[in-house]
Structure formats: structure tokens, C-alpha cells
């Protein structure tokens, strides 16, 4: 009797075992399988959503670089290098000063500059490094005026720091700037700067270049060529 009752009871309980085990499996498998799957999917989706804009940026950069006119790029580079040489091109500034002095009837005197190492690579190229130079000259007031004006409008670009005039003698100290090419490129997907915003600057540089009578030394000219001419200073 007791055995029969036990058997009946167990048979009855077995019908609950399968669904109960299934539920238990669900409870175990859901965090073990499904949740990692969802996490992995979210990660891949994140990669995709990050990657698509990057690809768009890369494609834009590629098309921008492909559409650049190589000749125009080179001529613009020559112009900007004349305005801001890539290195301490002391020769360029001396030649310009000599030309300006000749044009404006000013007699150049002593000059001094601390050039430093010519092959020095600036630690940071963010602000343009500069080289201070002081020159003295002699001339009539009108000539000195036009010489100063010519200097402030010539290439390479300079900023005049001090002007000292005593009768017909003038001493000017100015900063001559140079800007090396970027030593390293930023990450490949970094966008290229917008060139069109600099068109007015490019136009003013071009206008300045056209004011100079004799050609200035170019970027690729060997430095020795600059000094083959007679010393413009006495």
C-alpha cells in the first residue's frame, strides 16, 4: 500500500520535472549565452557606428587630396615658403633688405642677428619660431619712411619690433619668421584644413611678391647661391 502510494507520488511529480528543468536551464543559459551575445552585438554595432563616419571622413580626405592640382600646390608652396621660409633662410632676408635699400635710396649700415644652428629642428612648430635682427641705415626722412613701409610689405614676412630714428640715422629691429613643414602627420583620418578660408591671405602674399622687383630666392635654391653675389652691406 505504502509502496503503491510512493510510486503514484513519484510518477505524479515527474510530470513537473521536465518543465521545471527547462525553466531552470533558461535561467542559467540566458545570462550565460544570450547576454554575452547581446553585449558582443552592441560592441560590433558600436564599431560600425564609429567606423562609418571615419570611412566618410577618409573618403572626403581622399577626394580632396586627389582633386588638388599639383602645379597649383607647388606654386602656392613656393609663395608661402617665400613669406615664411621652412628654415632660417637668413640669405633671403638679406637680399630683400638690400633690394629695398636700393629701391628707396637708403644706405644700409651694420646689421646683427643671432642665427643659431641652421639645421636646428624646433621642438614645437605650433607658434612660428622667429629670429631677431637689427639693422642700421642712413637716409632722408622720406626715404626712411618708404624703406620701412617697403620692409613691412615685403617677403619674407617680418614684424618690426623697434624703430629708432636720430636725424638721418635709423635703427630697426625686427623679427624674421620661419615655419618648418610638419615633421609628422596627424592621424590619417584627421580632416585637411579648409584652404579656401586662406584665399585672401594668399592673395595678399601674391600681391607682396609682385611688388619686389628682383626675384627672391626660392625655397629649393641652394643656400650657397645666395652668397655668390657681392656683399650688399658695407
Amino acid at each position: 500500500m505504502i509502496e503503491n502510494l510512493t510510486h503514484q507520488y513519484l510518477k505524479y511529480r515527474k510530470t513537473f520535472v521536465i518543465p521545471a528543468v527547462t525553466l531552470l536551464l533558461f535561467v542559467i543559459l540566458f545570462p550565460l549565452v544570450t547576454i554575452p551575445q547581446i553585449q558582443s552585438l552592441a560592441r560590433v554595432q558600436g564599431e560600425l557606428s564609429d567606423g562609418k563616419p571615419r570611412l566618410i571622413r577618409l573618403e572626403m580626405k581622399r577626394s580632396k587630396l586627389s582633386s588638388v592640382d599639383e602645379d597649383l600646390l607647388k606654386s602656392n608652396f613656393a609663395l608661402t615658403a617665400q613669406a615664411l621660409p621652412s628654415q632660417k633662410d637668413i640669405g633671403a632676408i638679406l637680399v630683400t633688405l638690400d633690394l629695398l635699400a636700393q629701391q628707396h635710396g637708403v644706405l644700409l649700415g651694420n646689421f646683427s642677428a643671432s642665427v643659431g644652428k641652421l639645421d636646428e629642428t624646433p621642438v614645437s612648430i605650433a607658434p612660428a619660431p622667429s629670429l631677431q635682427m637689427t639693422i642700421s641705415a642712413k637716409g632722408e626722412r622720406g626715404n626712411i619712411e618708404s624703406f620701412l613701409k617697403g620692409m613691412s610689405e615685403a617677403l619674407p614676412l617680418v614684424t618690426i619690433e623697434t624703430i629708432e630714428i636720430k636725424n638721418k640715422d635709423i635703427t630697426v629691429s625686427f623679427l624674421f619668421y620661419y615655419k618648418p613643414l610638419p615633421p609628422t602627420l596627424p592621424p590619417v583620418d584627421s580632416p585637411l584644413p579648409d584652404f579656401s578660408q586662406f584665399q585672401p591671405t594668399l592673395a595678399s602674399l601674391s600681391a607682396r611678391r609682385s611688388q619686389v622687383v628682383l626675384p627672391l630666392p626660392g625655397e629649393n635654391e641652394a643656400p650657397s647661391q645666395l652668397f655668390e653675389r657681392a656683399n650688399p652691406f658695407f
Binding site: L41, G51, R62, K74, I163, E164, L181, L185, L205
Partner: protein
């Protein structure tokens, strides 16, 4: 007899009484549904995952191709960036570069014919000039013009530090002024 036995499944809820058969049936359905959901969700996730994976691979390949093309134009990029860097600096220098000269020109343009600059010094936004003249009237006019010029906004703290009468009827004056705005 067992199957017809009623159990008080949710004794707190009025009328929530199930037979054991109903309870077993409910359990079976719940387990079936959960199994179905687990399998269905896994399958869907697997398929979507595969699609995303393929898209990721394609995206990575496309990116690699474009990156290689950009790398091949590295020289052009260096030039391009070099030009824009130089233009950026040039833009600033063009704005400030000629200012001391303009100031000098304007200062000189204020001078009457009979007033001569014997010394002019401009440094660190400060202008100092020594002027000489035989005409006190001319000097007075110049100082008035200079004060008016200062009011236009380029010069401030204009100070006439001395006016001396020298031998031979010569007057000499020293003027100091600060330039507004840093160069």
C-alpha cells in the same frame, strides 16, 4: 484523485485556485515559451551578429584601401598642411606686421612743416619722440593734432614730458604715448 485535487496556489488572491492539472499545464506552457524565446532570441542575435560582422569586415577593408590611397598621397598632404600652416601664421603676421610702420607714417603726417623729428623711438608698444621747432605755434598745433589722433583710438597715455626753449629760438619737446592693443 490527485489531478482533481485543488490546491491553493495563490492563497492570498481571491479565487486563485488551480487544479494540479492546470498548474502542470501552465508550467509546461511557460517552459515551452521560455525555451522558444531563448532559441528565437539566440538565432536572431546570431543572424544579426553575422550581418554586422560582415559589415564590419567590409568596412575595415574599405577603410584600409582608402587609408593606403591617402598614404600614397602623403607628400601632397605634407605640402598641403605645410601651406595651410604657413598661411595661418602669415595671416596673423600680415595683421600686425605693418602696424608700427603705419603708426610712424601717421605720426610723421601730423608734423607741421616747421617741426622736425630729431628722435623717434618705438618699442614694446611705446612711442617716444623728440621734436624740435622754431615755431611755438607749430608745436602747439602738432600737440593738438596728436591729442586728436590719440582720441581716434590708436594712442593712449599721451604725455608731453618736456618743452624746452633752446638757444637760437629753438623749442624742443618730448612726447610719449602708449599704443592701444598689443602687437
Amino acid at each position: 484523485m490527485n489531478e482533481k485535487r485543488q490546491i491553493n496556489f495563490l492563497s492570498g488572491v481571491k479565487g486563485a485556485r488551480f487544479t494540479e492539472r492546470q498548474l502542470r499545464s501552465l508550467l509546461i506552457w511557460v517552459s515551452f515559451l521560455t525555451s522558444f524565446i531563448l532559441i528565437a532570441v539566440s538565432v536572431v542575435l546570431f543572424i544579426v551578429g553575422r550581418i554586422y560582422q560582415e559589415q564590419t569586415v567590409t568596412l575595415a577593408q574599405n577603410m584600409k584601401v582608402v587609408e593606403e590611397e591617402i598614404e600614397s598621397m602623403r607628400e601632397a598632404e605634407i605640402l598641403y598642411r605645410g601651406i595651410t600652416d604657413k598661411l595661418q601664421v602669415s595671416e596673423k603676421l600680415l595683421k600686425i606686421g605693418s602696424f608700427p610702420v603705419l603708426l610712424f607714417e601717421e605720426f610723421v603726417s601730423l608734423l607741421p612743416e616747421d617741426v622736425v623729428v630729431s628722435e623717434y623711438h618705438f618699442s614694446r608698444n611705446k612711442l617716444t619722440a623728440t621734436l624740435s621747432t622754431e615755431s611755438l605755434f607749430g608745436l602747439e598745433k602738432f600737440l593738438q593734432d596728436l591729442a586728436m589722433y590719440g582720441k581716434k583710438g590708436n594712442l593712449t597715455n599721451i604725455v608731453v614730458s618736456s618743452v624746452n626753449q633752446k638757444q637760437g629760438g629753438q623749442y624742443e619737446t618730448s612726447v610719449e604715448a602708449d599704443l592701444i592693443g598689443a602687437l
